[in-house]
Amino acid sequence: MARTSSPARLVIALSVAAVLAVFLVYTSLAGNARPSVSPSELAGKTGEVSLAGKVVGTPTGDPHGAGMRFVLRDIEGAKKQQVTVLYKGSVPDLFRTGRDVVVTGAQHADGTFVTTPGSMITKCPSKYQAADSNA
């Protein structure tokens, strides 16, 4: 017993259409997602990406001066590729050797990954319980 004359249906249909339209326009204009890659997947990627990796070695330099340099490798797997990251801006409390971090930026011709200032996020062990911290 469909009552096609009900204004509720019309309102819902129009609203859904409007929402979809806004959504499509937005995603096509702004692009809603950045690729997220690991150090071994970075090769060949141009433009801005999120780089997630594990900090190895000792960070050097001043993040609030010329920039801090540190090396990232893949969080999982046996791949050996490492990327040197040049980072400026706030360093989260949880950042240190052995931690997993995410930075946003792009790889330059010399192979250094130059980040957007202040873009570092540490993968917080209290919030996301990953498999290895279940012990």
Binding site: V11, A30, N32, S36, H64, P92, D100, S126, K127, A130
Partner: protein
């Protein structure tokens, strides 16, 4: 001791399994005695879960590190209150808290509804039992807090960022909210299963939904305040998947709270309501899944995580069950009334619902897309802050406006001329506010300006409502203004409590707009004696101190604060170095101006060996309104929740015939 905990959980599994199987059989076959025993099993499962929880609490208090969970989340030096909150510092304990809250809610909700909605309760019991079975199974077979190992000399300690009062309270409130949504969900499913699809399940669960919704709201504000004062990056909400996990069910529950009023008053939107409550409950499951499965950091860690796949299965079962039930009962859910006009209370509630659900689903999309993309396309992506901010403005600002319009539009059919009369004053006040703000320079942010203008509109309508109501009551009864005001609110708790909640949301919007659209930030490296100026303040770095606290070394930089020629005292910011956990945490300095609601927020980002410090300083106007809104929110929620004897009597007479004919028999 661990054996006792494991045994108690097994008993819970047995009891909730009985509530599911025997309760289902009793409801199907119409066996009253069997239904009562299933109900009692549900009550008893709360007690056995309580025993299991007590065992774990005792283990934390006694530093019994033979419990692997205790060894992993506590240490001897940890202060007692954090030993207690370490209960929910990890996955296993969090699940146990989930189960404890679930069985507690189940017992109470079924107890209170056992007389008035007996025919529903026989079907609600197996649904609640089924949910409990799922969680108990996880705790018994997959992720047990009672695993034992050789006891280490000391525990690994609790993550320092969890060592503060917020993290004692925040998870409890969140879980009271998440899990509380199981009650209206179970009653909705009970109504569908029993075929009694009138509004009784809504009446029976109104308070439970409100309690869950309020707790979820408080939990999120506590989390936001924690992020603000403890995490120390200068904000309170980052559209992090874990934060979204709590926001989505809250938005769905907000939509539900509004749309059920239409079903209560007009008998409309029945399908929509059961769908919404199912959405809210499934989102709360999804939220627990997100925070507990490791799926957010990577889909790879999800496949290694032991509880992830179980949880996903659990969500699928809930979604399929709810969908099938709604589908089967579609003919009975057909509404008799219909929307008469696009300008009416019903219609404005409908718009409010569509906006809330649209906002909720776009957040869901942003949260789930990275996971889906990695699983389907093999390419991981990150959805950034601009995406969420865009949709918050697109859907949030019209919602803000509707909050002022909706409550004043007449039911059924409103005349445009009448609307003009009602809204003339609020609209004039809003426009005046907008003009004044532009003159003051608030035009620098268009969304901020719109938010303020709409906020002024809504606050004006709310104030006018209170004034009109009080005046009408005075004219009628001749009471003095204060008495009339008190009785007006007391006699119409739902309505005026709702207005108070609306006012709190407006305050929240003002606080968010002020602190995000009109804030300023300055950073720089200072030696002793050097100064930095931001937003009218001048800060001078004076000295650096170091002190050994109970479980951390505390380094603090002391700064003088001046505004013009006036000294405003000192502010200190620094870092704590936790010895057991080998971790450093920022301790920010905040100076709140309670008159203007503005915060001066100082982060000592980096302390160098020579004593220079790199500071980052924010000035955040009106940010304190966000926390103030929390108190108003609780006040409003309490007004709507407060027991109302007259309403109880009214409901008792209204549903008396239903009780007479109530029996567990059902037709399927």
């Amino acid at each position: 001791m661990a054996e006792l905990g494991r045994a108690a959980l097994l008993v819970t599994l047995g009891l909730s399994g009985y509530a599911l199987v025997a309760g289902g059989a009793a409801a199907w076959l119409g066996r009253r005695r069997l239904a009562e025993s299933a109900r009692n099993a549900l009550f008893a499962s709360f007690l056995s879960t309580l025993v299991a929880a007590a065992v774990l609490v005792a283990a934390f208090v006694r530093d019994d590190f033979s419990f692997a969970y205790v060894a992993g989340h506590s240490s001897r030096a940890l202060p007692l209150q954090y030993k207690l909150s370490a209960f929910w510092g990890g996955q296993e304990g969090s699940l146990l808290l989930w189960l404890l809250v679930l069985t507690g809610y189940s017992a109470l909700a079924v107890w209170f509804a056992r007389k008035r909605a007996r025919d529903l309760v026989v079907w609600v019991t197996p649904v609640l039992g089924g949910i409990a079975v799922g969680f108990t199974w996880l705790l018994v077979a997959v992720s047990s807090p009672f695993d034992t190992a050789a006891a280490p000399a000391d525990g690994a300690g609790l993550n320092p960022s969890l060592q503060n009062p917020y993290m004692v309270a925040h998870p409890v409130f969140l879980y009271l909210g998440y899990v509380g949504l199981a009650v209206p969900f179970a009653f909705a499913m009970g109504a569908l299963l029993s075929g009694r699809t009138d509004e009784r399940w809504i009446v029976a669960t109104r308070r439970w939904t409100l309690i869950a919704w309020t707790a979820l709201g408080i939990g999120q504000l506590l989390g936001a305040h924690w992020a603000y004062v403890e995490v120390g990056w200068g904000g309170y909400y980052a559209w992090d998947p874990v934060e979204n996990a709590a926001l989505m069910p809250w938005l769905a529950a907000t939509a539900f709270l509004h749309s059920v009023m239409i079903q209560e008053k007009r008998g409309m939107l029945r399908v929509w309501n059961v769908a919404l409550v199912s959405l809210a409950f499934c989102l709360s499951l999804f939220g627990t899944f997100l925070t507990r499965s490791g799926v957010v950091s990577s889909i790879h860690s999800f496949t290694q995580s032991p509880i992830g796949p179980w949880f996903l299965g659990f969500i699928v079962v809930a979604v399929v069950f709810a969908t099938v039930m709604i589908w089967l009962r579609l003919p009975q859910l057909r509404t008799t009334a219909r929307l008469e006009s696009l300008v009416s209370r019903e219609a404005s509630f409908l718009y409010n619902n569509l906006l809330l659900v649209a906002l909720c689903l776009t957040i869901l999309w942003g949260t789930a897309w990275p996971i889906v993309s990695e699983a389907v396309r093999g390419e991981a992506v990150v959805v950034g802050r601009p995406y969420y901010d865009f949709f918050l403005r697109i859907f949030g600002l019209p919602l803000l406006l509707l909050m002022g319009i909706g409550p004043l539009v007449a039911w059924r059919r409103a005349s445009l001329r009448g609307l003009g009369r009602v809204f003339a004053w609020p609209a004039a006040i809003a426009v005046a506010t907008g003009v004044v703000l532009i003159l003051l320079g608030a035009g620098s942010s268009i969304p901020g300006l719109i938010a303020y203008t709409f906020s002024a509109f809504v606050l004006a309508t709310i104030a006018l409502e209170f004034a009109r109501g009080t005046a009408a009551r005075r004219a009628l009864t001749g009471e003095p203004a204060v008495t009339a005001f008190g009785r007006l609110v007391g006699r119409n708790r739902r309505r005026y409590g709702g207005y108070v909640v609306h006012a709190s949301i407006v305050l929240l919007a003002i606080g968010i707009a002020g602190s995000s659209a009109y804030d300023s930030v300055v950073e720089g490296r200072l030696s002793r004696g050097e100064s930095l100026a931001v937003g009218g303040y001048t800060l001078t770095y004076r000295q650096l101190t170091e002190r050994d606290g109970p479980n951390a070394t505390e380094i603090r930089a002391l700064l003088d604060v001046r505004r013009g020629d006036k000294s405003l005292g000192t502010i200190s910011a620094g870092k704590n170095a936790y010895s057991v956990e080998q971790q450093v945490s920022n301790e920010v300095g905040i100076r709140s101006d309670l008159l203007t609601g503005e915060d001066l927020f100082v982060i000592a980002e980096q302390v160098d060996d020579n004593g220079t410090v790199f500071f980052r300083v924010f000035v955040k106007p009106l940010v304190n309104l966000i926390w103030f809104a929390g108190f108003v929110f609780v006040l409003g929620a309490l007004i709507t929740l407060w027991p109302d004897a007259r309403e109880e009597r009214r409901l008792a007479t209204r549903y008396a015939p239903a009780v007479e004919r109530a029996d567990p028999q059902t037709t399927t």
